[in-house]
Assembly symmetry: C2
Homo-oligomer: 136 residues x 2
DNA sequence: TTGTCGAGTAACTGATATAGTTGCATGACT
DNA sequence: AGTCATGCAACTATATCAGTTACTCGACAA
C-alpha cells in the first residue's frame, strides 16, 4: 500500500460491515476482505473504537461491529477518528525571521480553513449513502 | 526538517528575494538563509523556474531572481508549481468491489473540491502582501 | 582561450513514516 | 481448563524525503 491507506482501509471496512450490521466480524475476516493483515486492521479500527464508531468484543464469540446505524456514521467521523490532519505547513520549526513567521501564519490560516470546510462537507456524507454509486 | 518542508522553503525563499527583487542570489546564499543545502534549494526553486516564477542564470555572475513582481506572484502559483497534491485517498490500487469503488469516488470528489477551494483562496494571497503580519 | 563560478543533475546516505509480521498477555465464552 | 479473539509491544521491510557528494554544462572574466 501507500501513504494514507488507513483512511481507505477504515472506510472500506466500515462500509463492508454496514451491509450486515448485526454480524460480528473478526479482524482476520476483515483483513481478508481488505487484503491486509489482522493486526493492521485492529490498529486502524481501534481508532474507530476509541471514537465510539465501532464496538469490539474479546473472547470466543468476539469480533467487531458498528456501534450505531450506518446512516448515523459520516465519513467525517471516520476521518476525524484517525486523527491525521493535512496541515502541509510545518509548525514545529521556530520561524527564523518575521517575514517567514507572517507568511506561514497567513498560509496556515487558509489551510486550516480549507480543512474545516472539507470536514463540513464530509459530515454530509454518511456511510449508508456512500456505499451506492453516484447517479450522474 | 519534516514532511512538506518544500512549500515552506519555497515560500520563504521567494519572500526573501522579494525584499530586493533586482539582486541576484546564488543557491548558496539562499540555502544559508533557509538553513539548508544549496542542492536542495536548486531542486525546489527549479520547480518554480519551470513554472516561470523565478529566473536562474548560470555562470560567473549567475544566480536566482524573481521572474515578475512579487505582487503578481500568488501563494497558489508556488503551491501549484511544486505539484504536490493532497488527495489522501489512494487511486493507485484498483478497487476490489463496487462498494469500495463508489465510496472512494464520492470521497475523492469532495477532497478534490476542497483542494480546488484551497487553491482559489491561495490565489488571493500574493507574496508581496503575505510578507507582512496580519493586523487582527 | 583558459580559468572560475554557479546552475543543473545523478547517485548515494541517513532519517523518518508506515505497512506488515511475530509473539504474547488479557479477557470472554465453551 | 481450553479456545479464540482483541490489545499491544517489538521488530522488519519498504518508501519517501532531506541532505550530501561529485560531476557536467554554460556564462563571464582575465
Ligand atoms: S468487500 Fe465488502 S464492501 Fe468491499
Ligand atoms: S531571512 Fe529574509 S525573509 Fe526570512
Amino acid at each position: 500500500m501507500k501513504r494514507n491507506s488507513r483512511l481507505s482501509l477504515a472506510l472500506h471496512s466500515v462500509a463492508h460491515m454496514a451491509s450486515e450490521p448485526d454480524r460480528l466480524r473478526t479482524s482476520a475476516e476483515i483483513a481478508e476482505h481488505a487484503q491486509t493483515n489482522p493486526v493492521v486492521v485492529r490498529r486502524v479500527l481501534g481508532k474507530l473504537r476509541q471514537a465510539g464508531i465501532l464496538k469490539a468484543e474479546k473472547g470466543h464469540a468476539g469480533g467487531w461491529q458498528l456501534a450505531r446505524a450506518a446512516d448515523r456514521i459520516s465519513v467525517a467521523d471516520i476521518y476525524l477518528a484517525l486523527d491525521e490532519r493535512l496541515t502541509p505547513v510545518s509548525e514545529d520549526a521556530p520561524p527564523r525571521c518575521s517575514v517567514e513567521h507572517a507568511l506561514e501564519r497567513r498560509v496556515s490560516l487558509i489551510m486550516d480553513q480549507a480543512e474545516r470546510d472539507l470536514i463540513e462537507n464530509l459530515k454530509g456524507l454518511s456511510i449508508a449513502e456512500a456505499r451506492f454509486p453516484i447517479d450522474t
